[in-house]
Each structure stands twice: as structure tokens, then as C-alpha cells.
Symmetry: C2
Subunit: 234 residues, 2 copies
């Protein structure tokens, strides 16, 4: 009974975090509209995961928008810059890594906002995490709060008083282990997800980039078998 | 001597307002990086104007990004909805028109922010106007202020203290007549610009949409000859 449920736009990369975020939105009773971006990220395997996950978790719709972020530049994810390997998690917070994409969450949330207005969905879910966050400024609570304020001044539906946009960040203060455990509780099949920044041509995870390092550590701490398919050591 | 000048990203649609805004950025001594969007707007003639104007006003670079806003929907500018004609200017403020594109300035400013960070440009110019503004919520000063606050929490260059983003809105409280006069003072050739929401196949202005109505009225009030090429009455 889709039309009796409140709609939410859920940003979905296809990684473990955004997938758990989608499962949480579903568990909270929202009709989910998954939004993914093809932004020239090297890890296209992510998008394939997003498609599988959106289907598996029963998203009402899954919209994939193509964004030419590579033309703007400035990131190892969209340009030929080497992705760093084997950085210990405790050092990740000390520097913003080259995998940082300028203004990425601002851009993604802006497009989510546009779709939310068209759908009359007042709720937007984003799986940012400020704890194991790998150093991105646009994953912090103060950024999210500020975006929400701005959003309610930006769109017709808010300005004319018909809805207030709420940005939900259910993972923001969870450890990776807790995120994975919550996902398992909600029936997430993590073998469908993809987190690696630098997979091989078969889409297998490198096991050594920041994203793989955090994910491996999370599975180990959560004492959940890691279903990730890793590439043989190059 | 480009590299001694401060860089600014200038949003450029190719219309009279954004063109004057670019001329103002230049007059204030900035090295301008013009940013335009191909977002499935019906008036592609705008983009051709943007290319001419960026060249004519000496932009250092002109980046045109393709955005699939039509896939999100919700606007007469990107979908087959009729553009209203002959609305008197005094009635435009009473309703947000169907030419409203959900979250458009939020999306455009987000991408300008990303480019600004890559260029190390702390200044962004946008030709929004709150007076003759045709009813868009994301043209109001409170929206712009809120976006600027959010921007400074979003990007690495700001969060690490190397720059503060400033959003400049030099036209925000000008009448259309004053914008046109200021453009003329700064050497803008308005025959290169395009404002119409619904041009004919030859790119000629309809003369009757909100944008044409405001532009015509502006030229009349400024007592400047209108260089616009209008289509014969259909």
C-alpha cells in the first residue's frame, strides 16, 4: 500500500553504509525512493551494487543520475590520481584523503532535494558517518544541520508551508561494526554491497584502500563473516 | 596578468542578468570562471548566448556541465508543460510559476562550490534578483545567506581554514532597468544575450513569457533600445 506510506528519498551508493541506511528507512515505515549517481567514480561496481540493493530492499523507484563531476576535477575518485593503500584507521581522521570529492554531499543532497520536492517527500536519508568517517567535512553533523536549514529556504513546497525537509542521518554516530550489525538485523545481504575505492576489472575489492580497511575492520569487530570478494594480492 | 587576480566562479545562463553579473565581476577585478548548465532547458538558445557572452566578456574559462534535471521533472522548463504567456509583472510575485525548477539554484551553487574549491576561488557570483524575481524562493537573500553558511561547512578548503566562500549577488536589489543600465555602462552587448523561456526554432524570443515581459519592461524603463530579436506573432 505504497500511497499510504510517507515517502523518503534515500541516497544509495551501493556501499555497506548507504545500504543499511536504506534498510533503516524501510524499517521506519517509509516508502523509499533510492537515488544514485554515476559521477565518473572509478568504482562503477558500486552502481551495479546499488541496483541490486535497491531491488533487494524493495525501493519504490531507483533513479540513477549522471553527473559530470570528473569535468570539475579535484578527486582521486574521478581523476587518475592514485588511491592510497593500507592507511591505518587511526590515521584517517588526521587528513582529508585524496578520495575526497569537492562538495560531493552538497551536490548529492541538492539533487535529492529537487527529487524530494517533485515526489512531495519531506524526508531524505543519507548514510553519512562522523565516527569512522574517513575525514570528509561533508559527513559532519554541523554540515547536515546547515544543509537542512538551507533546504527549507530553497524550495517552493517548504517556503509555501506545505512541508519541512528533514535530513535523516541514522548512521552518523555509529561505529562501522554497529552499522553492519544493524544491517544484519534488518536483513541486509552485504554480499550485494560494494565499498572498495579501487576494485579490479572484475569488481573485486582491493582490500587495502581506506574504504576496504574500514569495512574489514567493521566485519571483524562485529564478528560477522565478511562476504566481500577480495582480489588476489597484486 | 591572470594569476595576480583573485578568481571567481560566475554562474552564467546567457541571459541579461547573469551577463551583467559577469561584467560586474570583471569590473571588480576578478578573473572570471564562467559556469553554465545544459539541464534540458527548452531554451537552448540560452547556452549559445552563454558561449558568446563568456568570450565577449573575457572569461578565463567557460565550463558547461550537463545535468539531467529533466529526469527529476517538476518544471515547465525541462518538461512538456506550457509556458504561461502575457502575465502582468505585478501578478508574477503572487505565485511561483510553472517555470520554477525544483532546487535549481541550490544545485547550480553546489556545483559552483565544487569548482570553486578545485580552482581555489573563494568567490562565487550569481545574478539572482529578489525584486523583479518572478517568484522563485531560491532567489531570496535569506536563501543565499543560508547557502553561504552551509558552503563553509561543506568543503575542505574552508573547514581547514584556507578560504571562506563568499556568494556575491550584485543584482539582488536592482530593478531590471537598473541591471540593464549597469550592463550598458560596463560594455555589455545585450544583443548577445537570451532571456526567453520559449523561443522559436530560430532562437527568436516569444516576447510574451515572464522572462520576455520583464526584459521588455526593463528596456522600456531604462530607455535603452531593445536589441532582442522577437519572433513574429504566432
Amino acid at each position: 500500500m505504497t500511497d499510504t506510506k510517507t515517502k523518503a528519498v534515500v541516497l544509495l551508493s551501493g556501499g555497506a553504509d548507504s545500504t543499511t541506511c536504506l534498510a533503516i528507512a524501510r524499517a521506519e515505515g517509509y516508502a523509499s525512493y533510492a537515488l544514485s549517481f554515476d559521477y565518473g567514480q572509478r568504482h562503477e561496481a558500486e552502481l551495479k551494487s546499488a541496483v541490486r540493493v535497491a531491488k533487494d530492499l524493495g525501493a519504490e523507484e531507483h533513479l540513477i543520475l549522471t553527473l559530470p563531476l570528473g569535468a570539475i576535477g579535484g578527486s582521486a575518485l574521478t581523476a587518475p590520481i592514485e588511491v592510497p593503500k593500507n592507511v591505518p584507521p587511526e590515521q584517517m581522521r588526521d587528513r582529508i584523503p585524496v578520495t575526497y570529492v569537492p562538495a560531493r554531499n552538497t551536490i548529492f543532497l541538492s539533487l535529492a532535494l529537487a527529487w524530494a520536492e517533485v515526489l512531495h517527500a519531506s524526508d531524505i536519508f543519507i548514510g553519512v558517518n562522523a565516527l569512522d568517517y574517513s575525514g570528509y567535512p561533508d559527513c559532519r553533523p554541523e554540515f547536515i544541520e546547515s544543509f537542512q536549514k538551507m533546504a527549507n529556504l530553497a524550495i517552493r513546497e517548504s517556503v509555501e508551508g506545505r512541508m519541512q525537509i528533514r535530513i535523516h542521518t541514522p548512521l552518523i554516530s555509529m561505529t562501522k561494526a554497529r552499522i553492519l550489525r544493524r544491517g544484519i538485523e534488518l536483513g541486509v545481504d552485504f554480499s550485494l554491497t560494494h565499498s572498495c575505492y579501487d576494485p579490479d576489472s572484475k569488481g573485486r575489492a582491493c582490500g587495502r584502500c581506506d574504504s576496504c580497511t574500514l569495512r574489514r575492520k567493521g566485519f571483524a569487530e562485529a564478528e560477522i563473516p565478511d562476504p566481500t570478494v577480495y582480489a588476489p594480492r597484486r
